[in-house]
Symmetry: C2
Subunit: 181 residues, 2 copies
DNA sequence: ACCTGAACACCGTTCAAGT
DNA sequence: ACCTGAACACCGTTCAAGT
């Protein structure tokens, strides 16, 4: 990175790359500034706060979500959202921490609402995907530290079974309510 | 609080009270130490790290979950878990951050697994409750700061509709699979 | 057994001033 | 428009030493 001039976009890009490399606990304004060969205070010309920077990063993460062809079923959309959240280290947690601020993140719900009739169900499914993905990434981290209580923990095997069970619940629900109407 | 002697239990109790009063971002080891009228380093005689302290706090939060009478239905159990997570400020986030370490938190899944046949479905339901509760508490905080993008945001009204939609999905699933067997 | 004192290596943020 | 320099008010953690 040249010591030259930056803007919101380039800072966001490098923040996302740094997140993926070091994880959320080590993504500090000071470290990001060092990576940009700039003083920490320079970042506050582009973003009002770290929160605002993380919101921009969250929007980037969610931009990976593929557009839904209307009329397809729920499962591939849900998988697409999960994969976007898991594509970068601690991605789910970043999205979760900025989701309440509503700065972005409508993209995921919009995708789900086009394939699920009921909006409340679509939001609930998104909350399941977010919770699940966050726990998956946290377990990845705990495992890399070696902080597991029980031995012989098969990593992603049963995790995917839990995810599929969640998807099944919501697809079963929408097919039942479809029959009702 | 007297300046006298402490143990793990008393420190955990006051940490939980402090969490409820100031929230997770302001729950620091230094502030907790000040509340206990003790030097920050004193806390490290009782807990190896802040993580370990938070795990003890998470266990406390989950201890509020009522025992399930076997044979009752899913909804009241799910509500009981949600209420335990929402009983203290940022409680859901604390549980979420220590859940991966498996230090406690089996209590919630155990309760759900006694009323739901499939273990993967029980875990998925717990992940939905955790994700949902975390977002609810984050929105509470964002609202108290006044950092909402859109105006006139009805607070807990539609939030509960989303929760009920999630519960309905999992109860519908288990009743369908019951009929199948 | 439980705590103090002092230090180490960090944080996010503000703000005058530079170019 | 974009950044520097310096400061403010904090962090978690370690470790020798005290009682």
């Amino acid at each position: 990175m040249a010591p030259g001039r930056h803007d919101r976009d380039s800072v966001t890009t490098l923040a996302l790359a740094l997140l993926d490399r070091v994880g959320l606990p080590d993504l500090s304004m000071r470290r990001l500034a060092a990576e940009l060969e700039v003083q920490p205070s320079a970042l506050y010309w582009h973003f009002a706060s770290k929160q605002e920077l993380l919101a921009a990063v969250a929007d980037r993460i969610l931009s990976r979500i593929p557009e839904p062809d209307p009329g397809t079923d729920v499962a591939p959309i849900a998988v697409g959202i999960r994969d976007a959240l898991l594509a970068y280290r601690d991605g789910a947690e970043v999205v979760m921490s900025t989701y309440a601020l509503r700065l972005g993140a409508r993209r995921a719900q919009d995708a789900l609402q086009t394939v699920i009739g009921d909006d409340a169900s679509a939001d609930a499914l998104f909350e399941f995907i977010l919770g699940h993905s966050t726990l998956v990434q946290q377990r990845m981290h705990a495992q890399s530290i070696g902080a597991t209580t029980d031995a012989a923990d098969d990593p992603t095997a049963e995790l995917d079974a839990v995810f599929r069970a969640g998807i099944r619940a919501f697809t079963t629900l929408s097919s039942v309510t479809d029959q009702r109407s």
